[in-house]
C-alpha cells in the first residue's frame, strides 16, 4: 500500500515499454497513457493518508510526500489530457516519449519521499535523465533544429548543477557522518557557525535551484522552453517544480536559526530571480519563452516562503507552487490547443483569440491575470501571503522590491491579453475548438485558480497539515 502509486506507475511504464516495441496507433497510445496516469492519480489519492517508511528508512511515506505525489500525478494527467495527440513529438518515437515521461514522473514521485541523500540523488537523476531525452524528441516539422540545441543545454546545465549538489552532499556527509536527513538535522544544527555547513547546504540547494529555475541556475530556461515541444515544456514548467519545492522544504528545514547567511543567500537569489525574470520577459516575442522568464520570477516568490524558515512560510510556498502549477498549466493548455501542429507561438499568434475561441481566451486571460497577481485569483492571494510571511521575518526591503516586481510584470502579461482581446484577426483565421476532455480540464483549472484565490483557507490548512507532518 505504501508504494502503490509508484508501483502502478512502474507497471504502467513497463506496459508502455512493451507497447513501444510494436507500432501502436496514436489514438490507442493516448488512451493508454491517460488511463494509466488516471489510475496512478487515483491510487495516490487513495494512499493520501498512508504512513510508514521503506528501503531502510530512506524512503518516507507521510502526508507531505503523498500530497506531493498526488499533485505531481494530477499535473501530469492534466498535461497528458491537453496535449491531445502530442503533435509536437516525432511520430516515430511517441511511445518511447511516453515511456520516458512516465519514468520522469516516477523519479519525481520518488523524490518527494526520499529522506536520504543517495535516494534523493537517484530519484533526481532518474527524473532528470528522462527529461533530458524528452526534450530533443520534438518533431523536426514543428521545432526545426531548436530542440537539439535545447536538449544539449538542458543536459549540460543539469549535469553541472548535479555536480554542485553532489559536492555539497559530500560536505554534509563529511560534517555529519550520515546520509539520512533525520541524522543530519541533529548533527548539523550546532554547526552553522561553520562556513562549511553553509556552503554544503547552499551547494545542495543548487541542484534544486536548477529544477525550479532560480537565478543564477536559470540559464537553461528560455532556450529549453522555446526549443522543447509545447507538451514537454508544459510538463517541465509545472511538474518538476512541484517536486523541487518538496525537497527544498526538506533541505531548508535543516537550517537552524544561526544560518542567517543561508537566508541572506536565498534572499539574494529570490530578488535576483524576480528582477531577472521580469525584466527579461518584457522584451520577449515568443510566448513560451516569455512564460519561461515569468517562471523564473515566480520561482523567486516561492523562495520567499522558504527563506522565512517557518512552517507557515513553507506552507505558503507549497500553496503558491500549487497555484503556480494551475496558472501555468492553464496558459500551456491554451498554447497546446491554439497550436494544433505543435509549432511555437509568438505573442501575435493570439490575435483575436476571443473570436476564435471565447473559452480559451477567457482561460488565457484569467491564467495571465492570475500570474500577474491581480486579485481575486490565486496568484494574488499567494503573493500576498508570501509577502506577509516575509514581512513578519523583517525582510521589509525585499517585500518592497517584490511588490515593485509585480508592477513590472503586469506589462508583459497584459500585452498578451491585449492581443487576445483587443485586436481583431486580419482576414479569415482558423477556429480553435478544444476537445471535450480538454474543455473539462480547462474549466477545472479555472475553478482551482479562482477557488484558491477567493477561499484559500481550506487549501492553507491542507498545506499546513502537510508541512506539520515533516517538521
Amino acid at each position: 500500500m505504501l508504494f502503490l502509486p509508484e508501483l502502478i506507475l512502474l507497471l504502467g511504464t513497463l506496459c508502455l515499454f512493451l507497447v513501444s516495441l510494436g507500432s501502436p496507433a496514436i489514438d490507442t497510445l493516448r488512451k493508454l497513457t491517460v488511463i494509466i496516469m488516471a489510475l496512478v492519480m487515483l491510487a495516490s489519492l487513495a494512499c493520501l493518508n498512508q504512513k510508514g517508511s521503506l528501503f531502510f528508512d530512506s524512503y518516507q511515506v507521510d502526508f507531505f510526500s503523498q500530497l506531493f505525489k498526488f499533485l505531481i500525478c494530477t499535473a501530469t494527467l492534466v498535461v497528458l489530457i491537453f496535449s491531445e495527440d502530442a503533435p509536437g513529438i516525432r511520430s516515430d518515437v511517441k511511445a518511447e516519449y511516453n515511456v520516458f515521461l512516465f519514468t520522469g514522473v516516477l523519479g519525481l514521485m520518488m523524490l518527494t519521499s526520499s529522506v536520504e541523500l543517495l535516494a534523493i540523488l537517484v530519484s533526481l537523476e532518474l527524473s532528470s535523465f528522462a527529461l533530458y531525452i524528452m526534450v530533443p524528441m520534438r518533431s523536426a516539422e514543428s521545432g526545426g533544429a531548436m530542440q537539439m540545441e535545447s536538449g544539449i543545454k538542458y543536459l549540460l546545465f543539469g549535469v553541472m548543477s548535479t555536480g554542485f549538489m553532489l559536492f555539497g552532499m559530500s560536505y554534509i556527509f563529511g560534517l555529519c557522518g550520515s546520509t539520512y536527513l533525520s541524522d543530519i538535522a541533529v548533527q548539523i544544527e550546532p554547526l552553522f557557525y561553520q562556513p562549511a555547513a553553509i556552503i554544503a547546504i547552499a551547494l545542495m540547494l543548487a541542484g534544486f535551484f536548477y529544477k525550479l529555475a532560480i537565478f543564477p541556475f536559470h540559464f537553461w530556461v528560455p532556450d529549453v522552453y522555446q526549443g522543447a515541444a509545447n507538451e514537454t515544456t508544459a510538463f517541465i514548467a509545472a511538474v518538476p517544480k512541484i517536486a523541487a519545492v518538496a525537497v527544498m522544504i526538506r533541505i531548508v528545514s535543516l537550517v537552524s536559526a544561526e544560518g542567517q547567511t543561508v537566508v541572506n543567500l536565498l534572499l539574494i537569489c529570490a530578488i535576483g530571480s524576480m528582477f531577472y525574470g521580469n525584466l527579461s520577459a518584457l522584451v520577449q516575442k515568443d510566448f513560451k519563452r516569455m512564460l519561461g522568464f515569468s517562471g523564473i520570477s515566480h520561482a523567486g516568490f516561492v523562495l520567499f516562503g522558504l527563506l522565512t524558515l517557518s512552517s507557515q512560510g513553507y506552507a505558503t510556498s507549497l500553496y503558491y507552487i500549487i497555484g503556480y502549477a494551475a496558472m501555468n498549466l492553464a496558459c500551456f493548455l491554451v498554447v497546446c490547443t491554439v497550436a494544433p501542429s505543435g509549432k511555437n507561438l509568438a505573442i501575435e499568434d493570439f490575435t483575436g483569440l476571443h473570436q476564435r475561441s471565447p473559452l480559451l481566451a477567457v482561460i488565457l486571460a484569467i491564467g495571465l491575470f492570475a500570474l500577474a497577481g491581480i486579485p481575486p485569483f490565486v496568484g494574488f492571494t499567494g503573493k500576498f501571503m508570501l509577502l506577509v510571511s516575509a514581512f513578519k521575518q523583517g525582510h521589509v526591503l525585499a517585500v518592497v522590491l517584490a511588490a515593485i516586481n509585480t508592477a513590472i510584470a503586469i506589462y508583459y502579461y497584459l500585452s498578451v491579453v491585449r492581443v487576445a482581446y483587443c485586436s481583431d484577426p486580419e482576414g479569415a483565421t482558423m477556429q480553435v475548438a478544444p476537445g471535450t476532455l480538454t474543455t473539462a480540464v480547462s474549466l477545472l483549472l479555472l475553478l482551482v485558480i479562482v477557488a484558491m484565490g477567493i477561499l484559500p483557507g481550506a487549501f492553507l490548512n491542507l498545506t499546513s497539515t502537510a508541512i506539520g507532518t515533516i517538521l
Binding site: Q312, F369, I374, P375, P376, F380, F384, M385, L387, V388, F391, K392, V396, V399, V400, A403, I404, T406, A407, I410, Y411, L414, S415, R418, Y421, C422, S423, L455, P456, G457, L460, N461, S464
Partner: protein, 508 residues
C-alpha cells in the same frame, strides 16, 4: 469592533455587493443581446432600489459603521469579510447604485457588438465599486480595488475608440503601479496592529512619524493616481476619450471618487501626523491641478477631452477641501464628490449622445445643434452651468463650502483657488456656446434627431439631482455631518495628544 453597528437582519450591504455579480452569472448562458440588456437593467435597477432602503434605514445621528456585517473569511491570516457604511461612504454607495442603471441605458444602442461580455463587465464593476466603498477589511478593500481594473481594462480595451489599446494599457499600468506600495503599507499596518486587517482598529494609533510619512506616501501615490491629482493625471484624458460612454461615466463618476474617498477614509485617520506634516504640499498640488486642468480644458477641441481635463480641475477642489481639514472643507469635498459624479457623468452621457449621432467627439462637428436638438441642449445647458458651479445648481454648494473652508484655513490658498472657478466658467460656456449656436460656418446639422424617450429617461434623474442638491442640500449634508464631525474631533484629540506627548519629551 465597537465601531460597528452589526446588522442582524437582512444582509443589505452584501446584497448590494453581490447582486450584480449574480446578475453577471445569470447573463452567462443567455444568447440574445436584447435579453442581456434587459437582464442587466433589471439587476442594476434592483440594486438601485435597494440603495433607497439603505438610505431609509440610515441613522444620521451616529458616526459608527452601520449595516455592518462581519464573517470570518481567511482564518489563518485573520482576514475577515467586514463591511459597513458611515456618513462618508453612504452617499457614494447610493450614487454608485443609482448611476449604474443609467450606464446600462446609455449603452443600449451604443454597444452593438459583444453585448453580453460588455454587460458582464459592467455588473462585475458594480460589485467591485460598491464593495470598495463599504469594505472595512483592508484586504477585502485591496482585492476589490485591484479586481476592478480587469473589467475596466476590458471596457476600454474592447469597446473603446481608435486609440483604445494605448489608453487601456496606460490606465491599467498607472493604477496598478500606483497601488503596489499600498499593499506594502497594508502589510505594515497589519503587522503593527497585532495582525488585524480591520480598518477602524488601525485608525488613531500612535505610530512613529517616519513610518507614518512612508505609509502616507504609499497611500498618496495610490490615491493620487486614482483621483487623479496633478501630475499623475495623464492616464485620465486618454482613458476618458477612448472609453465607451458607459465606461467614461463610470470612470468619472465613481472611479475617481475612490481616490478622494481613500484620502478621507485612510490617510486622515490612519496617519494623522503625516497628514499634518505633508498637507501643504498636497494643497498646493490641488491648486496646481485646478488651474492646470482648467487651462488645458480651455484649449481642447475634443469634447470628451475637455470634460476629462475639467475633471482634473474639479477633483482638485475635492482634494483641496479634504486637506484644509475643517468641517466646511471636508463636507464640501464629500458633497463635491457626489456633485462631480452627477454632473460630469451627465456631461459624458450628453457627449455620448452626440457621438452616437455624428460619430465624432470634435467640438467643430457638433456646433450649432441647438436648433435641431432643443431638448438635448436644454439638458446640456443645465449640466454645463452646474459644472462651473452656477448658483442654484449642486456644484455651487460644494464649491462654495470648499472655498469657505479654504479661506478659513489660509487666505492665500483661497485666493489661488479662485481663478480655477473662473476658468471653469470660461471653458464650459465656450463649449455650450459652440454646441448650441456655433458660428457662421456650422456644418449642416439638419438631419440630426433630438433625444428619444430612452435618452430623456437617462438624463432626467441627473437633472433632478443637480437641482435638488443645488436648492436643498440639507438632507445630503445631514447624512455625512455626524461622521465628518466625529472624524475632525478625533483628529483634534489626536493632535492634542501628540502635542502633549511632545511637550513631555521636551520637558524631560
Amino acid at each position: 469592533m465597537d465601531q460597528l453597528l452589526i446588522n442582524h437582519g437582512f444582509p443589505l450591504l452584501s446584497a448590494l455587493i453581490f447582486l450584480p455579480l449574480v446578475g453577471a452569472f445569470v447573463l452567462l448562458p443567455l444568447k440574445s443581446d436584447e435579453t442581456c440588456r434587459y437582464v442587466s437593467l433589471v439587476f442594476t435597477a434592483i440594486v438601485a432600489l435597494l440603495s433607497f432602503v439603505l438610505v431609509a434605514g440610515f441613522d444620521t445621528t451616529t458616526a459608527a459603521f452601520q449595516f455592518a456585517e462581519t464573517h470570518t473569511w481567511i482564518a489563518p491570516l485573520n482576514i475577515n469579510y467586514t463591511v459597513g457604511v458611515d456618513g462618508i461612504s453612504i452617499l457614494l454607495v447610493v450614487m454608485t447604485a443609482l448611476i449604474m442603471p443609467f450606464c446600462v441605458l446609455a449603452s443600449w444602442s451604443y454597444i452593438q457588438f459583444r453585448v453580453k461580455p460588455f454587460m458582464i463587465c459592467l455588473l462585475i464593476m458594480e460589485t467591485a465599486m460598491i464593495g470598495v466603498f463599504v469594505a472595512l477589511d483592508f484586504v477585502l478593500f485591496y482585492i476589490l480595488w485591484e479586481a476592478m481594473l480587469i473589467p475596466m481594462y476590458l471596457l476600454i480595451g474592447i469597446w473603446g475608440g481608435p486609440r483604445k489599446i494605448y489608453a487601456s494599457i496606460k490606465f491599467f499600468l498607472y493604477t496598478l503601479a500606483g497601488s503596489i506600495l499600498l499593499l506594502v503599507a497594508i502589510i505594515w499596518l497589519y503587522w503593527k496592529n497585532s495582525y488585524t486587517f480591520f480598518i477602524p482598529d488601525m485608525m488613531w494609533q500612535p505610530y512613529g512619524i517616519t513610518p507614518q510619512v512612508l505609509v502616507f506616501i504609499a497611500f498618496f501615490i495610490a490615491f493620487a493616481v486614482k483621483v487623479p491629482m496633478f501630475p499623475f493625471h495623464t492616464w485620465l484624458p486618454a482613458a476618458h476619450v477612448e472609453a465607451p460612454t458607459a465606461g467614461s461615466v463610470i470612470l468619472a463618476s465613481i472611479l475617481l471618487k475612490m481616490g478622494t474617498y481613500g484620502f478621507v477614509r485612510f490617510a486622515l485617520p490612519i496617519v494623522p501626523d503625516a497628514t499634518l506634516l505633508l498637507m501643504p504640499y498636497v494643497l498646493w498640488l490641488s491648486i496646481a491641478g485646478i488651474i492646470y486642468g482648467g487651462l488645458t480644458a480651455l484649449a481642447q477641441q475634443d469634447m470628451k477631452k475637455l470634460i476629462a481635463y475639467s475633471s482634473v480641475g474639479h477633483m482638485g477642489f475635492v482634494t483641496l477641501g479634504i486637506f484644509v481639514l475643517n468641517k466646511q472643507g471636508i463636507e464640501g469635498a464629500i458633497l463635491q464628490m457626489i456633485n462631480h459624479g452627477v454632473t460630469t457623468g451627465a456631461l459624458f452621457l450628453c457627449v455620448g449622445m452626440i457621438y452616437e449621432r455624428t460619430h465624432s467627439r470634435e467640438l467643430s462637428a457638433a456646433t450649432g445643434v441647438g436648433r435641431y436638438m432643443p431638448i438635448f441642449v436644454t439638458f446640456l445647458a443645465f449640466f454645463s452651468l452646474s459644472s462651473f458651479g452656477f448658483p442654484g445648481t449642486n456644484s455651487f454648494v460644494g464649491e462654495f463650502l470648499v472655498l469657505a473652508g479654504t479661506f478659513e484655513f489660509d487666505l492665500t490658498l483661497g485666493l489661488a483657488a479662485i481663478p480655477g472657478a473662473v476658468i471653469a466658467a470660461a471653458y464650459m460656456l465656450r463649449m455650450l456656446q459652440k454646441v448650441v449656436w456655433g458660428g457662421v460656418d456650422n456644418p449642416d446639422q439638419s438631419w440630426i434627431t433630438d433625444l428619444n424617450t430612452r435618452e430623456i429617461v437617462t438624463l432626467a434623474p441627473f437633472l433632478l439631482f443637480v437641482l435638488w442638491i443645488g436648492l436643498s442640500p440639507g438632507p445630503f449634508m445631514e447624512m455625512m455631518d455626524y461622521s465628518v464631525t466625529d472624524l475632525l474631533d478625533q483628529f483634534n484629540v489626536y493632535k492634542a495628544q501628540s502635542v502633549a506627548a511632545a511637550e513631555i519629551l521636551v520637558r524631560r
